[in-house]
Symmetry: C2
Subunit: 97 residues, 2 copies
């Protein structure tokens, strides 16, 4: 079981991630960000790099891709919302983008 982020820790994380383009999807307690690349090759290359990290962290994004755009949504199902795992993966994704 992973703990859901709460209180000031949660607020600080959301504030920091929002500066990197992550939006809170309040309906699900998830964060989402859309990345735009030059073309499909670049978009899928990014996805492949994220996939390797996600598998290593054993925490996976929900994501969609339309040509050069990738929309990533992060939440932790067994926590029922945002957890430290989402923050770790978001930071890795930002570093890769």
């Amino acid at each position: 079981m992973t703990d859901k982020l709460t209180g000031t820790e949660r607020e600080a994380v959301l504030e920091r991630l929002s500066q990197h383009g992550w939006d809170l999807d309040g309906d699900r307690d998830a964060i989402t960000r859309t990345f735009k690349f030059k073309d499909f090759n670049a978009a899928f290359g990014f996805m492949a790099r994220v996939a390797l990290w996600a598998e290593k962290l054993d925490h996976h994004p929900e994501w969609s891709n339309v040509y050069n755009r990738v929309t990533v949504t992060l939440t932790t199902h067994d926590a029922g919302g945002l957890s430290a795992k989402d923050v770790t993966l978001a930071d890795h994704i930002d570093a890769l983008a």
Copy 2:
């Protein structure tokens, strides 16, 4: 410019693809199919193989992935609907799944 499928050719293709699990999304004149795999590794492996084919065909899916599930939607933007390109890509995807 790619021609949209029409008439009996379109009907025959939709009938054949529906037997492989593709559903028509009438709102957009697109076809969609959801694939379920053992885990994320298998799901993303499938996506990587499809991505290589899509790039080769220069025709790309709209798709989403949540852990072991991949939902693929095919349509041809410059035809304003289903074209022979979608059928070719659907057949490749079925062969890879």
